[in-house]
């Protein structure tokens, strides 16, 4: 699949819609109601498989959205013009690295005995 501006736009919009769902959930569940976050609570939630799936999807959408967004922000500048292609690849690499790192964090997590 070639990455075209049409695709970037679609990715940006679709991920935005997905984020509306995940972000709301995330904010409500994790950051709100405002309480002291400590290790034990996080551990309990992150251990459940269903949350693992949700978190991976969240990660996927937020990463694509953020990287596509940063790509657009940078390529808007005249000076970046010649490096658009390179920048695109950097974004893809960053995506792979962060997605792998994030997924590993989520999956590898084992509640301590």
């Amino acid at each position: 699949m070639r990455i075209t501006p049409t695709r970037i736009f679609q990715i940006q919009r679709i991920s935005a819609i997905a984020l509306l769902v995940f972000m709301t959930t995330h904010m409500v569940v994790v950051h709100y109601p405002p309480m002291h976050i400590d290790f034990s609570q996080i551990i309990v939630r992150m251990g459940e498989p269903i949350w693992k799936v949700i978190d991976i999807l969240f990660l996927l959408s937020v990463l694509t959205h953020a990287l596509a967004g940063m790509y657009m922000v940078l390529t808007d500048l005249q000076k970046i013009g010649p490096y658009r292609q390179a920048l695109g690849w950097i974004a893809v690499v960053l995506f792979v690295v962060f997605f792998a790192y994030g997924t590993k964090t989520i999956i590898a997590f084992q509640p301590p005995v």
Partner: protein, 116 residues
């Protein structure tokens, strides 16, 4: 700069978007340490638990709220022919963002001040 409501919302959206993206990477770095055991995690978490960060977290919430609501506005403009209501839409986004921001931010603020 050529200043209109459209320009203002664009700048806000862009600033919040970039800020959120940068925060995202920081966030992942913090969370990533869960697998290195409780100590490492708590250590990293501690750096982001200082009062300063509490306030930053409120700013973060505000940013997410504005960015998301404004994003919805863009989706509406894309799918419906409403460009002529652009000014009203902008004000609607501001009002909704402020209301949601207060609803979400005030308890956090109180929590931060009272120290939980």
């Amino acid at each position: 700069m050529y200043k209109t409501t459209g320009f203002f919302s664009f700048v806000l959206r862009r600033v919040t978007g970039v800020a959120l993206a940068l925060y995202l990477f920081l966030h992942m770095w913090v969370i990533g340490s869960v697998n290195q055991g409780a100590e490492a995690f708590d250590a990293r978490l501690a750096t982001v638990q200082s009062p300063l960060f509490k306030f930053l977290e409120i700013a973060l919430l505000a940013a997410v709220i504005y960015h998301a609501i404004d994003g919805i506005r863009l989706l509406i403009v894309h799918y419906f022919d409403v460009a002529e209501y652009r000014k009203s839409l902008f004000y609607a986004v501001m009002v909704v963002s402020v209301l949601l921001g207060i609803a979400g931010g005030l308890p956090m603020l109180l929590f931060a001040i009272n120290g939980g």
